[in-house]
């Protein structure tokens, strides 16, 4: 009867740690509602792939030969071969975004750019801590605050740490309400947080909303060609939304397509959470660098707003700069909540929402930039 205990005897302590990690992710998803659509499948997947001789991974069976495991197959087809899953998810994300608040207040574009600084600061920190350039760049992209971009960049750069990077990216996106207020308070005074901003949006024509995704795709594609897959699919989704003649398709992209890909992406990415690769000191370092990236992103956006205030008559509440990260709509909500804590009548939500959607564009530009620059140096 020894065959019944084979699995139990093959268990390693690292696999037991991964069951703990899996349960923690499931707990965060259910109890805390932190990015449940991603963290729950990832948590369950972490348990699946760490069962000894798990059938969800490719196995060599005595007398049979090699058999395919579903999660390994999904990873090879959906992420490794073509990055199809994260890229397709961008169609759904694009269909969900209303660029109206940004188009009616275009100076908010700048904050999307300013709040990407954490990516590059994190790359520098990772290099200083001993990671090689492609791993450092993949880790730094956690600062994009954009899960699919993090997965895509780390996969294209063939990083050894795609699992920890995905876990860090999604966990910290969920922790934006904790990380950002701390970082904002570090670099702002109460008086600055109380600044009121007038909201006088200019009207945005239907034609502008249609041309916008095409213009963004062409401009970004010319500046950072590696980001075309990301920005192109993001803007394709947005064009479907704004064109006005594909409403059913837009709804499908926003709901069915997004849900289906998200569900599969979470459990597929768990392939990279096998114990021997995940339970390492490097994973802990990546988690620390990830939180550093989010803090520097926030500070970068705030400092840019403070710098702009040196030259503008209508002062900007510096917290709006912090909303320039890609975590939408969470970041703009956090900023609005902080503004109301200081001054209950202060409404800066629409400004923050403009900066926030700008962050979504800037984060994919940053992803493309990182791929372009790093491959240039590696070549």
């Amino acid at each position: 009867m020894e065959f019944l205990t084979e699995g139990l005897r093959a268990l390693t302590w690292q696999q037991l740690v991964m069951y703990g990690v899996g349960i923690l992710l499931i707990w965060l998803a259910i109890k805390k509602e932190y990015e449940p659509a991603l963290l729950l499948p990832m948590g369950f997947g972490a348990i699946l792939v760490n069962l000894p001789s798990s059938g969800v991974l490719n196995q060599v069976l005595t007398g049979v030969g090699e058999t395919n495991g579903i999660i390994e197959w999904l990873f090879e087809i959906g992420i490794e071969a073509s990055e199809a899953m994260p890229v397709l998810l961008f169609i759904g994300i694009g269909a969900m975004i209303d660029f109206g608040p940004l188009l009616s207040n275009p100076r908010m574009f700048l904050f999307g750019a300013g709040a990407q600084f954490g990516i590059f600061a994190a790359i520098l920190l990772a290099v200083v801590l001993g990671f090689d350039l492609k791993d450092a760049a993949s880790i730094g992209i956690i600062g994009a605050a954009d899960g699919p971009t993090s997965i895509l960049v780390s996969q294209i750069l063939k990083s050894n740490y795609i699992g920890p990077i995905a876990v860090a990216a999604y966990s910290y996106m969920a922790l934006v309400p904790v990380i950002q207020p701390f970082a904002i308070r570090l670099v702002t005074t109460k008086k600055e947080r109380m600044i009121r901003m007038k909201y006088e949006p200019s009207s945005v024509s239907h034609r502008t909303k249609i041309f916008f995704p095409i213009i963004v795709t062409v401009v970004v594609g010319l500046v950072a060609p590696s980001s075309v897959a990301l920005v192109g699919f993001l803007m394709f989704g947005n064009l479907i939304r704004e064109c006005g003649v594909l409403n059913t398709m837009s709804e499908t992209a926003q709901n069915n397509l997004s849900n289906l890909i998200t569900l599969l992406l979470g459990i597929t990415i768990s392939f990279s959470m096998q114990a021997e690769r995940f339970v390492t000191v490097e994973t802990l370092m990546i988690m620390v660098i990830g939180v550093f990236a989010f803090i520097i992103d926030t500070i970068g956006g705030v400092l840019l707003a403070k710098f702009m205030n040196l030259f503008t008559k209508d002062k900007i509440n510096p917290m709006v700069g912090a909303a320039g990260i890609s975590a939408f709509p969470m970041s703009s909500r956090v900023v609005q909540k902080l503004a109301m804590q200081e001054d209950p009548g202060n409404v800066i939500l629409m400004h923050a929402a403009g900066a926030n959607v700008s962050g979504q564009i800037a984060s994919v530009v940053a992803g493309g930039m990182v791929i372009n620059l790093v491959t240039g140096f590696l070549g």
Binding site: A121, L124, F212, V219, I361, V370, L373
Partner: protein, 37 residues
């Protein structure tokens, strides 16, 4: 040391590239707004 210098160059060029892209898009959006008027 060499990789640190490369990381600093990536930081400089990356941020410059992002701001360049954003400024061009911003300028086009402003122009489209003006044309409408």
């Amino acid at each position: 040391m060499n990789e640190v210098l490369i990381a600093l160059e990536i930081m400089w060029k990356g941020m410059a590239g992002i701001f360049a892209a954003v400024l061009v898009i911003m300028a086009i959006v402003y122009l489209m707004g003006k044309m409408k008027k």
